[in-house]
Amino acid sequence: MTRPNPAQTVNDNPFMKPMEWVSLALLAAVIFVVLPMLLDAFRLNLVGKYLTYSFVALGLVICWGFGGILSLGQGVFFGLGGYLMAMYLKLEASSVENTKIQSTPGIPDFMDWNQITALPWFWKPFTSLPFTLIAVIVVPALFAFVIGTAMFRRRVGGTYFAIITQAIAAILTILIVGQQGYTGGINGITDLRTLNGWDIRTDQAHNILYFVNGALLVACILFAQYVKRSKLGRILVAMRDKEDRVRFSGYSVAGFKTFAFCLAAVFAAIGGAMFTLQVGFMSPSFVGIVPSIEMVIYAAVGGRLSLFGAVWGTLLVNWAKTTFSESFPELWLFGLGGLFILVVLAFPNGLAGIYRTYVEPRLTRRAKAPEPAPAALPHAAE
């Protein structure tokens, strides 16, 4: 009943429709021009952090919105990306020079406190930046591949998949917290300083990272758009709506689902790695169930079928969270809870749905006349 008309999401024609180019330009303008001009370094860093969550939301649009696979464990991949990046940064910050007061200099401080006297084997490769960057992509993808193949080939249903991914998030949190000698435990991996010699703690570095983050996000959107309009994207949507018919047509449903899940995992991991770089630490509190479900709501608010919506939704929810929790901390949970219910009940397609129903028809009507007034654009208010 709320399923969108497939014709709306999949277009056979050009790479992007004109309106989508406008959306992209608008998003790019806001990220690269408007926000940096309006906000001070502190707030900009905050927005940068929010944008890292929108990578996760973007992945969820692909696997949940298009593929119909809801993962409640995206925090796992966000965390994996973040931790892998943090391992590299931590090793660089733990040079023999910096850690000479430890009983074993040259290893991360939390290992020293846990009587570990040599770097564990799985930490060793992370002295290399290229290896780390590859690992940030490959490790989460492999992990998602293993989970995906195991489950989709046995035709695990949507709700089961959601609950199992949630359990995986719980297990990983317990493991990270328990294995503190190797992972930094509940405190996480903290006090990260430099990336290949470049100090990431300065305002200037935060600025540069913000723009790198923005560029990566746009690149991911374009890649997701490419997937969406490819044959694969159309099969995903078909599968979501009538899985059996796709299977009977001879397609490997499990393979496509696994691919969508892996792609979402990679996006989440890129977000996690950028999060670590901008925030300066990584901790198990981003791996567990609660952050994983919150990230789903970002995608839901933005519109689970809209790549741009995912980014706007993330920004909007986080902006609301920061504002409300500053001025009315008591009310925030009511607000967040109400948002979940409202979006699901009244606006299943989120901001993007509102835009398509109320704004787009007017815009296209007016587009035939001279040109659209910028004020009528949906997200200009942000």
Partner: protein
Amino acid sequence: MFGDYSLTDLSSIFVMQGFAGLILFSVYTLMALGLAIIFGQMGVINMAHGEFMILGAYVTYLCSGFFQTHLPALFPAYFFVAMALAFIASGALGMLVEWALIRHLYKRPLDTLLATWGLSLILQQTYRTIFGAREVGVELPAWLIGSVQVTDSIEIPINGMFVMAITTLITIGVALLMYRSRFGAQVRAVVQNRPMAGAVGIDTERVDRLTFGLGCGIAGIAGSAFTMVGSTGPTSGQLYIVDTFLIVVFGGAASLLGTIASAFSISQTQSTLEFFLSGSTAKVITLLAVVGILMLRPQGLFTLKVRR
């Protein structure tokens, strides 16, 4: 590891450990029963299940306070009143939620998950506003505290046996209700074929509402019983949610027997591992085993083929 202990020591430990496993089994069954009804029979994922449990716990807390100040003579028996009230309160809230929220979402099971998660946040904040952020201590009647001395070295906690008794009664009650009553027949009819059930004159909306209310009410009783063994605070419900879902999924939805079998196997595994290994290792191994088995056998232990 047993070299230093006498045979009597060991045998009594095995008896007590057996009981520990049975108590854990009862706790898990009680947690999962309400959810199994809702998820299994209706396909709705109720993420606020833990909050319905805590509502029962708070009702018990209020009852204990009320009896202490107004009816101290009846205090020893208050727990039964509290459980009945917990059932009514959670059940009523459940029916309200079904009417306001869930019935709009039956066609979108994944969305019920998001909506009920939102509901759980709202309920948590409500509890925090009303009862304060701190955990509350629920005072128990004296007869529920302590243990029964079976032999010199074997002691069985009374509240554990109480939970076992409650669980047994409720399980039998639910089984009778589901498989021997008119209502149960209607519920099963709706699960198996909704349009046909409606066509033969079953009020499916009413059945849905009562089923959801029943599941929530049982959660309320569980919460009430858990005040004896656990904590009562705004976020305590979250402690149970992952375990509960895994039990239901592992058992295979739509199967009461499956839920019980799954609660039994998970509790025995965990309780045995906890005895031989350390606590958190046992937990991780149990969860990994459950997830691993689910990957190989995603339909769970028992399944019922249904047509939707």
